[in-house]
């Protein structure tokens, strides 16, 4: 499955995320939401102990969502990439964003009953306390347009 994302906030990013786990053949009855984790610049003051701690919590969180069948896919994204903009794509700049806190560091494709549930799940993200923000976007399965809300 290929998901094509636009962010209106700056109109610059085109992230193409290819997910292996979600299958095209499964008929989708519940809506899907994309949780976008923004911020590559984790609080640099974190000690190794704290890094291990927050990571363990994140793994537990993702595992639980997977086990409940809610997380259908998820991957990290690196900050390596190019931004293409301008009318005919004549402007190519390095990196998705100038500011690392804006960069999408990863995503989870979520199956949730409604936006409220998706937002509730996003609010559990262990990275929120450490400078990560989560954007929740409805994946429109018909025409590829979404509505979104920030957490």
């Amino acid at each position: 499955m290929v998901t094509f994302l636009h962010t209106e906030t700056n109109g610059l990013l085109c992230a193409v995320a290819i997910s292996k786990k979600a299958s095209m053949t499964t008929p989708i009855t519940t809506p899907e939401y994309m949780l976008l984790f923004r911020g590559m610049d984790w609080d640099r003051g974190l000690s190794p102990e704290e890094i291990q701690n927050v990571m363990s919590r994140w793994i537990a969180w993702f595992d639980r969502l997977t086990e409940q069948g809610k997380a259908r896919a998820g991957q990290p994204l690196t900050d390596k990439g190019k931004v293409i903009s301008g009318k005919k794509g004549q402007t190519v700049s390095d990196g998705p964003f100038a500011e690392s806190k804006e960069t999408v560091a990863g995503y989870i494709l979520l199956q949730a009953d409604n936006l409220d549930e998706a937002v509730a799940i996003a609010k559990e993200c262990p990275g929120l306390d450490y400078g990560i923000s989560v954007e929740v976007r409805l994946v429109d399965q018909q025409i590829g347009r979404g509505i979104g809300v920030g957490v």
């Binding site: 640099r44 190794p48 102990e49 890094i51 291990q52 701690n53 993702f62 595992d63 991957q75 990863g106």
Partner: protein, 438 residues
Amino acid sequence: VKKPRDKEISPPSGEISQLAEHLFRQEAGKLVSVLTGIFGIDRLQLAEDVVQEALIRALQTWPYYGIPKNPAAWITQTAKNLALDLIRREKLFRDKQPEIVASTEQWSADSFADDSPSFDTEIKDSRLRLMFACCHPLIAQEEQTALALKTLCGFSAAEIAKAFLTTEAAIAKRLTRARQKIRDLRIPFEIPSGSELSIRLNGVLQTLYLLFNEGYKASSGESLVKKDLCYEAIRLAVLLAEHSVANLPRIHALIALMLLNGARLPTRTDTEGNILRLKEQDRSQWDRTMIARGMFHLLQSAEGDEASDYHLQAGIAACHCTAKDYESTDWPKILSLYDRLVEFDDSPVIALNRAVAVANVHGPMAGIEAVEAIRHHGKLSSYYLLYAVLGELEAQLNHPQTAADHFRSSLRLTEIRSEQMFLSKRLKACEERTANRR
């Protein structure tokens, strides 16, 4: 791995348990040591940054892909790649670049994942060199402990600040000063040799002892960080003893004293954080494994004819740990150890502790006399424990009013809440007894 807080849900799989407790902290200490060997001690900060970056990479990828089979190897490999990138990019390495690239590639080319013996030796050497550098006598004591915690134990400035009850900014300043001194004074990254080794080793042991003591001291809040200080001091001392140059009786004595005192840590306060005295502690909760390890090191410390003050302190701790209950404590033995200890070290604090042993052997009156003999020592007059001890002994002599006066003096001299609460409790008991008499 800390227990998840209430609102967090525990993992359905056993995945978290795959990560050894304090794995990141320990890997960080190891890698900073090795990278410092590569970058040079004057670029200590650079080594710390690379390791930090490697751990952040783990944080960014493991949640999605799961924990790698060998987490330590993953971190090592990532740190190595980051280091190589940096060496190739940075101008400051240009003159020696091929040389350090070669040595970096080598340190993990031969399957570090399987703990190849040559890499293992290199880690041990590097770590020891870093210990000697951090504990160099030209660096102030308080800077030494902060730097050791930062580089060897991977503590953040915020965590160190919590442990030392100071601000993060103050710790950051200490760390900067220490790194600056290393650069400016050209403190070497090496294991000293010859006659210097023994002296410098004593400096390292002293720093580890203070590190432990800092964690052992009763204090309010942040008891978790405090406990970690004790465990880190023990861990570093054990690592030190594993190295052939440091495998000496006195280091085993130091390890023994830390383990035997550390074993009692969890019972020193009740669930509300109130201080419990030795006779009130639940001895069944003392850490048997630590006691056993402590006794093992105490045995090893007895080899040769060297006796240090660590030996005597370990002996005292062993007397407490091996006593079935408070009443059967071998106080005459403890007193004789203190008698020898005061010969080593004329610290009034040790003399005060000796007075407690005197009281237990010869009665409270003798104890008070022993305290009176050292009372006018300058440093002691503002030491809250002096009055706490006098208060205890006067209470035993059934002089509640005098005891209450001492507890009041003691209360005025401590700012630590748990100590204040303990002393208030003691004071109240004395006041009640005085009132009942009237």
